[in-house]
Symmetry: C2
Subunit: 471 residues, 2 copies
């Protein structure tokens, strides 16, 4: 193996070396500059890094052929789903071929008896839910954007419903993966549990395309609940809100969603979504279950909120009102950006043990006030996870201040026993914190990377940066 991190020109050359791809894919191998630019860009502030070509496979076997072809010339491969990642995961840091999986978007089979479904990796969350609706089922993982299921698995995504249904990790039963040499494996069956050998499925989940390309998935699905109730509750402080969340979870109330929006975010929502919510730290709740169960759980949660100085629950009655409430939460990112028209979003997230969460959020708010930067905070507080959405102008000095504050945030989370990212992933944006968070465990990650991808062609420059392939 002799592939090195050299200048980009050599990779453009390399694409010529994989001329076999054009023969295979015809007009499904694209090199138009607009398409390249789009595929080097995600929803983050990270600088776009376009690939040299974009391939659109239609089957897992085609992915395997593309990978084999690229392996022959040690050409980098970058998988691409919906392009909604936030840490530069899709950047072609070293050029190469982007594998766009959006045309592999078929829901292959839904099995209501087994409460699972087979999907191609390019199926999006909303698309899967549309296919499940008639079966009375839904897919319970709910990130902020309409990501692909393959992308969610690759980045270990989660979202608002994790506190009840778990992250994507708990909701993928099985997958088929294309390895760096083009072989296809199925690392686990779709049995609900297994003690048969190493848990490779969970190793691929969150590996961000650096160990293999996910070409098919079997996911868990759950029944649409009989009743759903949603409510909003204001608190005198972040501490009071977080204390309510902790107590709600401790006594075992099966809340489906419990989300914090800080006063800055509430103000942004009011402006963007035309609401008139009181500007205070606010929890959004959702309960799933039977009519009676939901009512009882909501009553208990409401009692806990009141004990912590919360307002009375403002109910969103009916499905439409509930959806409207949650639309406000889902639009948080765009609302945040609208606070400062023309700004770009710089989203970051950390996750800490919940006992440290209020302290971490409050210290971050103090940092923000001291810096004069604007960044609404939203949190999946049941998990100890929260996000900042910085609204950054083109001013380079401002970006540097944002990065400095992000740096303090990550180091604070690590010092509290947390992680540098709860759900956005590492990409190249957070690769610099990996050694600090994981210590010598990084050597194990690098050893696994070398074992599975000795030439370093799979999404180079991500997670293990500055990973160096074998000489």
């Amino acid at each position: 193996m002799s592939w090195h991190a050299a200048d980009r020109t050599s990779y453009s050359q390399r694409v010529n070396d994989v001329a076999g791809l054009a023969t295979l894919l015809g007009d499904r191998l694209v090199t138009h500059p607009d398409v390249l630019r789009q595929h080097g860009t995600d929803e983050s502030y990270h600088a776009p890094q376009p690939p040299d070509a974009v391939a659109y496979p239609q089957t897992i076997d085609e992915i395997a052929v593309i990978v084999s072809e690229c392996a022959r010339s040690a050409t980098p491969i970058i998988p691409f789903g919906a392009g909604t990642s936030l840490e530069g995961h899709v950047a072609a840091s070293r050029g190469g071929v982007c594998i766009d999986l959006s045309r592999m978007n078929r829901v292959l089979e839904v099995r209501p008896d087994d409460m699972d479904a087979d999907v191609q990796p390019g199926v999006t969350k909303n698309q899967l839910n549309a296919a499940l609706r008639d079966h009375g089922l839904f897919f319970p993982v709910d990130p902020g954007s309409d990501a692909t299921i393959g992308g969610m698995a690759a980045t270990r995504a989660s979202g608002t419903t994790t506190v009840r249904y778990g992250t994507i990790r708990e909701n993928v039963l099985s997958m088929r993966v294309v390895l760096a040499d083009g072989r296809i494996i199925r690392p686990s069956s779709r049995a609900r549990k297994s003690a048969a050998g190493y848990d490779l499925t969970h190793l691929f989940i969150g590996s961000e395309g650096t160990l293999g390309i996910i070409g098919e998935l079997t996911v868990r699905v759950v029944g649409v609940p009989e009743a759903i109730a949603a409510a909003r509750c204001m608190f005198p402080s972040v501490e009071a809100a977080v204390r309510s969340v902790m107590e709600t979870i401790q006594i075992g109330i099966p809340v489906t969603r419990i989300e914090l929006l800080d006063e800055v975010q509430i103000d942004a929502v009011n402006r963007y979504s035309g609401r008139d919510y009181p500007v205070a730290p606010t929890l959004f709740y959702e309960f799933h279950g039977s009519e009676r169960g939901v009512a009882e759980n909501a009553e208990s949660a409401s009692g806990i909120a009141a004990d912590n100085g919360g307002s009375s629950f403002d109910w969103a009655t009916g499905q439409k009102e509930g959806a409207k409430l949650w639309d406000a939460r889902h639009d948080a990112y765009y609302a945040a950006l609208a606070v400062r028209p023309g700004s770009r979003g710089f989203a970051t997230d950390v996750c800490v043990p919940i006992s440290r969460l209020a302290e971490c959020i409050v210290a971050t708010q103090e940092d923000l006030r001291a810096s004069g930067l604007v960044a609404p905070i939203v949190g999946h507080v049941g998990d100890g996870n929260f996000h900042l959405i910085f609204c950054v102008s083109e001013d380079a000095g401002e970006l540097a201040r944002v990065e400095a504050l992000n740096d303090r945030l990550v180091r604070r989370a690590l010092a509290m026993g947390g992680t540098c990212t709860g759900e956005h992933g590492v990409g190249y944006g957070k690769a610099r914190y990996m050694r600090e968070e994981h210590g010598d465990a990084m050597d194990v990650m690098a050893a696994i990377k070398r074992a599975l991808d000795p030439a370093g062609i799979l999404n180079p420059g991500k997670i293990l940066y500055p990973f160096r392939p074998n000489k």
Copy 2:
């Protein structure tokens, strides 16, 4: 590296090479034949294979020193918890040093606010629950024996409560692991979720001591529910019982336990535990929640059972009655053995998608009738997982027939999209099925093994058998 699978004598020699261990451990390095025999034996029918010495570390740093010392002379290392494994996990197939973790049995810290606890690996399930009781908490993973938490993690154990709380996999947040070269890593923080890099924690879970020695764990704990209700219900057939389970789960009734005992097992329980349960396929249920929630859920489940021809629920009212009901379930293994005094237990388990479960159990019962062998069946049916407990005499011919039937069972489960073991693990007993189940994914497991343990000293002969270390 030059360690080969040679004859055992050379390993006895090797123990002399690690004479430094005796200096370090004093009388905590034991070579008495009785102790060696006990440590080469688990609760299965697999032939005992004693190690050459047993080391009793008291701290993770001592584990690291033992491993470093063994690594120097390429001496095999076999971790040992409570010795309750069922597939020969503790067998010293190639001699070496057994690391008995039973003296590392301290509950280090319980954090009610974070709903987690730090434990040493030798803490047992019952011991942890005793330490949690005063906090109103419990550890929700419930295998059949009082295993150690380290052993449960190493073998990816689960048990009766998986349908509600998940397996050990969903309940370990973090761990400290001693690698094959003696380094100690912490592969994840104790944040509830993280998207920061490869999921090494889940790679070590279920790796059966072949990738590292788990020296400390942070586990999730949950609140003791306000109310618990337990019930028993007879069905006209296995199919009717399984259909009830599927429907109960599909409509989202949060049942905590739902266990099937077939007619043979019920008969065994009646004899062993002095009950007079009607001899028919029977489901044992348990519900956790609020008083009202439990009553509502039980009522719904009871309605589903009735629709499928089930008897009316026989309630175990009160905690004592409930415990008595579940004692009968927990004693299933010993009850099964008592059916045929003097016999040894040969326990096996498989797991299939639940839509195939009834078919798999019924075909297995037919196999049993045709063979004349005795083996009660118990199942964690909510997971699609069931066990056979063969009662085997000393007759070698009978053991061969049992193995043949087990073989058919495993192949049937694999053909149905299932796994050769839902929760007992691979050890060496099921290593022969790994290639059949995983195909080329076995090459990935072997590559990871080589990357993390190039000399092959960590629990050799398990999972990857016939794994060959690097020359």
